[in-house]
């Protein structure tokens, strides 16, 4: 069985790279990057990506963005509102397609994925949306369990996994509540639990602490770091300068759709 969702993130990585995707090879030839070392392979590659939402060329959400994220890396994406951070996340999960440029994840050209493969791909990544996107007619438990049902997890394993996850984000007391009965921060944590419950190989989180107080924000960040330590590649969009400065990870700064800085350390200029 080669379903992505059933293969542990670490194994999957090597398997995909060894498949020697022709698309990936041609990319490495054309670009100036060094030959790919399987242990140091980029999981996410953006190549000269531009995105214009309405087709008007002067209003680019993203312009010629290139970067790559290595397997097991922890990356912050920071920048002012409207700079294109969410657009990047949406491109990486193939919610939208780039106007120009290419995106590879785990050696696959996202533009070439067929419909079924898109489903599989999305199941192999965990996503926290900026606006949560919880199912309004289902309670907290069902929202998290839903992610497990989607990947076809065995029925008897679901309750255990879900309650473990709800414990982790500190919501086990509210598993029966509907999203409308939760605070913004609580909804955010449900979204995080849903993103993590399937043990994704990549976690894309758009402002996962946007609605949380400093105390809760730190707990979530520590959780993300723990997930990252276990092998999941983590990309976090955030505004929280304090957290970014303290955690000393790689930081990609965007402004008006252009990467202005990409280095390890703090929030940087602005």
């Amino acid at each position: 069985m080669s379903d992505w969702e059933n293969v542990p993130a670490s194994e999957l990585q090597e398997q995909k790279i060894q498949e020697s995707d022709p698309a990936l090879e041609s990319v490495s030839e054309n670009s100036s990057r060094a030959p790919i070392n399987p242990l140091d392979a980029p999981v996410i590659v953006l190549e000269h990506v531009s995105k214009e939402y309405d087709g008007t060329t002067e209003n680019h959400a993203l312009t010629d963005v290139s970067f790559s994220v290595k397997k097991g890396e922890f990356v912050f994406i920071v920048g002012p509102s409207g700079s294109g951070k969410s657009t990047m996340i949406r491109l990486m999960m193939k919610e939208i397609s780039p106007t120009e440029g290419r995106i590879y994840v785990a050696g696959k050209d996202l533009a070439k994925l067929r419909k079924r493969q898109v489903c599989k791909y999305r199941r192999s990544i965990g996503i926290v949306f900026q606006d949560f996107r919880l199912l309004q007619d289902r309670n907290v438990y069902e929202n998290v369990a839903f992610a497990q049902q989607v990947v076809g997890a065995p029925k008897r394993r679901i309750p255990k996994e879900v309650s473990k996850m709800l414990n982790l984000v500190g919501l086990s007391g509210k598993y029966k509540n509907r999203p409308t009965e939760l605070s913004g921060g609580e909804q955010q944590r449900v979204a995080l639990a849903r993103a993590l419950v399937n043990n994704p190989m990549i976690l894309l989180a758009d402002e996962p602490t946007g609605n949380l107080d400093p105390q809760n924000s730190w707990e979530i960040m520590n959780l993300l770091e723990e997930i990252n330590r276990r092998g999941t590649t983590v990309v976090v969009v955030t505004h929280n300068r304090e957290i970014v400065d303290r955690m000393q990870k790689r930081v990609i700064s965007v402004q008006s759709g252009v990467i202005v800085e990409d280095k390890k350390g703090g929030y940087g200029h602005e």
Binding site: D3, K94, S97, I127, Q136, G152, K155
Partner: protein
């Protein structure tokens, strides 16, 4: 993929869909029920008429009676001549005494029969029952037989056969039209039910897509919804029809008593051997296909970039 878990999940969601969309679901089930109920009644009539036709063809034939005071020898002679005719399969002689015995048995109580003593009120009712190879050749041959000397009267079954055949045809055409119309309405209602369901869950469906739910996973609850509606819409009329088969068919027979000369109907199990699977197929098929094609149309907007 744990397919049973997924199936259970989809089934549960399908039930949930129906509950959330109660009014349309009930309307769909009701229309389907009406449609298949009517279908059942049409089928009852058709199969019984057909049965009678078959009986007429093979069992009834024609009955001829003889001139009064005819000699036994003449009767034997007639028998030979009729049997020699090409279209005739067999000729059975029934004496007046036999006819009376049978009549007493089937139509009179013992006490009433006693009152006749040894008299035979049907003295001149000795007869031939003539059976033909098929109904088509009957008319001509009957005319020939009527011309033979010594024949008083021919009781022809052709009128009945003709009427039945005509009735059969009218019923077939009529039922096809009515049922077709009702099926269209049922399909439309199921389609509307699913459309409503999709529009209620529009946001949900897009979220499902975004976290990687397959098309089948998203569709299955709606398909289950359609199939359950179809299943209910088939099972309800079938159980009513099953319980009331003889009542219904006798009621119809009494309304058209001139046609239904016998009260000899096709038995229930034989009727439902065909009616049950056909109704279930129609119900479930319409439920499934109606839902499927509506989903094709409705979910096209969700196809990802």
């Amino acid at each position: 993929m744990n397919s049973f878990g997924s199936f259970a999940y989809c089934f549960h969601q399908g039930i949930k869909n129906i509950r959330r969309n109660k009014l349309f679901s009930i309307a769909s089930v009701a229309t389907m029920t009406a449609c298949l109920f009517l279908f059942g009644i049409m089928y009852f009539i058709l199969i019984n008429v057909q049965y009678m036709l078959l009986e007429a063809e093979t069992n009834v034939g024609v009955t001829v009676f003889f001139d009064e005071g005819i000699e036994d020898e003449q009767i034997a002679n007639l028998k030979q001549r009729i049997e020699a005719m090409e279209a005739v399969r067999s000729v059975v002689y029934k004496s007046a005494a036999q006819t009376w015995e049978e009549y007493k048995e089937t139509h009179l109580t013992d006490e009433l029969a006693e009152t006749f003593g040894t008299d035979n009120p049907l003295e001149d009712s000795a007869s031939f029952s003539i059976f033909f190879e098929s109904v088509e050749e009957q008319t001509e041959t009957v005319a020939q037989i009527a011309m033979l000397p010594g024949i008083r009267k021919v009781n022809d079954t052709e009128d009945m056969v003709n009427t039945l055949t005509r009735l059969n045809r009218i019923l077939s055409i009529g039922s096809v039209i009515i049922i077709g119309l009702l099926l269209c309405i049922a399909t439309f209602l199921i389609s509307t039910t699913v459309t409503m369901g999709v529009s209620i869950r529009r946001k949900e469906i897009s979220i499902m897509h975004l976290i990687g739910a397959t098309d089948i996973f998203i569709r299955a609850p709606f398909l289950v919804e359609g199939v359950i509606i179809g299943l209910l819409g088939a099972c309800i009329p079938l159980s009513i029809l099953y319980a009331l088969y003889y009542k219904i068919i006798e009621l119809i027979a009494s309304k058209f008593s001139s046609l239904f000369s016998t009260l000899n109907f096709v038995n229930t199990s034989e009727v439902f051997q065909v009616l049950a699977p056909v109704s279930l197929c129609i119900g479930v098929g319409i439920g499934f296909l109606g839902s499927y094609f509506t989903l094709n149309k409705q979910l096209r907007n969700f196809r990802q970039l």
